[in-house]
């Protein structure tokens, strides 16, 4: 048996986990996620509606040839990417603070980060409405300091929708970046400083590249959440800003055109899964360390 080739029959020690551990979870998702979704997409033409019945190709053709819908698709992606990028920019310093400077207060900082997520989305959005109203706090303040002459309409536009989304999603970004920053060896930064790099250069050349992994994870989460959200857009965007999820919501609640909703869901899903896969590959390549 000494020279017998054993490859493939015995795999050595594979840690505590067996690949089979995925089976139950995967089965759960297949049974309660994949099949229902597919089932739903196949049977949409049988649902109760008075809407005109058209072949599915009609909707896909519309989505991919009508400049308006191409614009919607582009807006959906732009909004998600935009919100994600803003979250990275404003969230990164906070993550840095949390990991490097908060010290024993880090628990409190994390608590404050999560606190907004504990209130209902409806009320969070309402808080913004009060602030942004034509005679709301923000306008009152701007009028008071003579920055503006007449109230600005913040609400019902892209601005308030983006602010609302960033507000809801930025904690996810901060937490994702912080968890990676935490694992960066401080010695790396110190040695860069000793080698004569300025604080800023150290950040740019050492800290930032090492934290890309966390930005990647944060990007996935925030992008996907933004990509699928409509409640904030509905309540703060005033319908001014149209994205696929919002149109899907319209189809469900008002025009009951389920086939169109199904077609749009598929496009949205394709965007999301494509992005997700891309990001995971990127992370895999950047983060294979130990």
């Amino acid at each position: 048996m000494t020279d017998q080739v054993r490859r493939g029959t015995s795999r050595g020690f594979s840690g505590v986990v067996s690949p089979w551990w995925i089976a139950v979870t995967a089965l759960f998702l297949v049974v309660f996620f994949v099949i229902p979704i597919i089932n739903n997409l196949l049977n949409t033409d049988q649902l109760v509606t008075l809407a005109k019945q058209r072949p599915a190709s009609f909707y896909y053709e519309k989505l991919f040839t009508d400049p308006y819908y191409l614009g919607i698709v582009a807006d959906t992606v732009t909004l998600s990417v935009g919100v994600t990028v803003i979250c990275i920019i404003i969230g990164y310093p906070v993550a840095l603070f949390l990991v490097r400077h908060a010290g024993r207060w880090s628990g409190l900082v994390i608590f404050l980060l999560i606190a907004p997520l504990l209130t209902s989305i409806i009320m969070r959005t309402f808080g913004w409405r009060v602030l942004f109203a034509r005679r709301g706090l923000l306008n009152d303040f701007l009028l008071w300091i003579d920055a503006i002459e007449k109230p600005i309409l913040f609400l019902n536009g892209p601005t308030s929708a983006v602010i609302g989304l960033v507000h809801v999603l930025v904690p996810f970004m901060v937490l994702s970046i912080a968890s990676v920053l935490r694992s960066i060896d401080l010695q790396l930064e110190e040695s860069a400083r000793i080698l004569g790099a300025s604080r800023f250069k150290t950040f740019l050349k050492v800290t930032f590249p090492l934290s890309l992994d966390g930005i990647g994870t944060g990007f996935i989460i925030v992008f996907l959440l933004a990509n699928g959200s409509f409640v904030t857009l509905l309540l703060l965007g005033g319908g001014e800003l149209k994205t696929l999820p919002l149109l899907i919501y319209q189809q469900f609640t008002i025009s009951r055109d389920f086939q169109f909703a199904a077609a749009m869901s598929n496009v949205l899903l394709a965007i999301a899964v494509g992005c997700l896969y891309l990001q995971l590959r990127l992370i895999k390549r950047k983060g294979v360390k130990g």
Binding site: L50, A51, A133
Partner: protein, 349 residues
């Protein structure tokens, strides 16, 4: 630390099977589940209909809060054993539910009180039961900022475009947006086959920058309260209820060029028990209807209803309403998707 302690500490995280302990409480055969919108709607349905039903039959009527789109899907998903026995729907939803086989057709045979309902509210839903209350889109305005309010919808439109005030109207995300599109078309000489006149008006309003939109009934009140809007098209009952709560600053105008009408129907889900018929009969009875009207300040549909003195002055009578007939209603439902698409493309709020 003892090794064993450590084992015990890591234990509880894994035990997740407790879930099956929670389950639905079984509802006895006689009890029924009826539906309602939230807030004062729920109070009214409970006080005027459900409690009356319970008093007379001894069974319970559970009131479920939510929205018609949700209920229709729930019935459709469980046609044999619907989780809902009586469903509240808008006009076009009623027809879709009826033709889709979700509800039983109610006539005076099953619901005797339907005999006294004004026929226009039966036609409004193509004979799938009837509407039990109706609302009119009046113009509600802020008396403090508008001293000289418009008399008609057309005047409201013109002066909004001119910039006399900030105005608000129902958004495309509001459930009855297609009905409003048709109403504007009808007002400006179009029809369910030709809504160009309506869109021409919307375009002007939009371009003027003086029009915003509201997407729920409270959304409107917020806009008026915070000053985002000075005037808007709004449900009469809702406006009166708001004023009665001490908001004297709000004024109401019944437009001279016919207020847009929309009504709400109530029907028995197809698989529901016969007790649902008893409930519906109460819903269409003059007494409970008057009670409902008192609560919500809306008009109700049984012709024998004795309105309070106050409501008599407030209700917009059917002859002053702009309401679609049956074939128009069907066209509205069929064209809804196209209109909303057009709205999205051309108007956008």
């Amino acid at each position: 630390m003892k090794f064993d302690n450590h084992i015990r500490r890591s234990g509880p995280a894994m035990l997740g099977a407790a879930m099956l302990a929670f389950s639905v409480n079984p509802v006895s055969a006689e009890d029924i589940t009826v539906t309602s919108f939230g807030g004062i709607w729920e109070t009214a349905i409970k006080d005027c209909f459900a409690s009356e039903f319970e008093k007379r039959t001894g069974s319970k009527a559970n009131v479920l809060i939510g929205s018609p789109a949700q209920w229709m899907s729930q019935i459709e998903a469980n046609p044999d054993n619907p989780p809902i026995d009586v469903i509240v729907t808008t006009q076009s939803q009623t027809m879709a539910a009826g033709e889709g086989g979700l509800i039983s057709r109610a006539t005076a045979k099953e619901v005797p009180n339907l005999a006294d309902v004004d026929p226009i509210f039966i036609k409004a839903v193509d004979g799938w039961g009837a509407c039990f209350d109706f609302g009119a889109f009046i113009l509600a305005y802020n008396k403090d900022t508008i001293k000289n309010p418009p008399k008609s919808i057309k005047e409201f439109v013109d002066r909004t475009i001119k910039g006399d005030w900030m105005a608000t109207m129902p958004s495309v995300s509001y459930a009855i947006a297609p009905d409003i599109i048709w109403s504007f078309a009808d007002l400006y000489g179009g029809s369910a086959d030709n809504v160009d006149p309506a869109f021409a008006v919307f375009k002007q309003l939009k371009d003027s920058g003086n029009m915003i939109s509201w997407s729920s009934v409270t959304d409107f009140l917020n806009q008026m309260s915070t000053g985002d809007a000075d005037i808007g098209m709004y449900w009469d009952g809702r406006a009166y209820a708001f004023i009665d709560k001490g908001n004297d600053w709000m004024g109401v105008i019944k437009p001279t060029d016919k207020a847009f009408m929309s009504c709400v129907a109530m029907n028995k889900a197809k698989g529901a028990p016969d007790a649902a018929w008893d409930y519906l009969n109460i819903v269409f009875e003059p007494g409970p209807q008057a009670c409902f009207s008192d609560h919500l300040k809306y008009g109700v549909t049984n012709q024998k209803v004795q309105y309070s003195e106050e409501m008599k002055n407030r209700v917009t009578w059917p002859k002053d309403l702009r309401a679609p007939n049956v074939s128009t209603s069907r066209k509205i439902a069929q064209n809804a998707a196209d209109w909303i698409e057009r709205w999205n493309k051309e108007i956008g709020f």
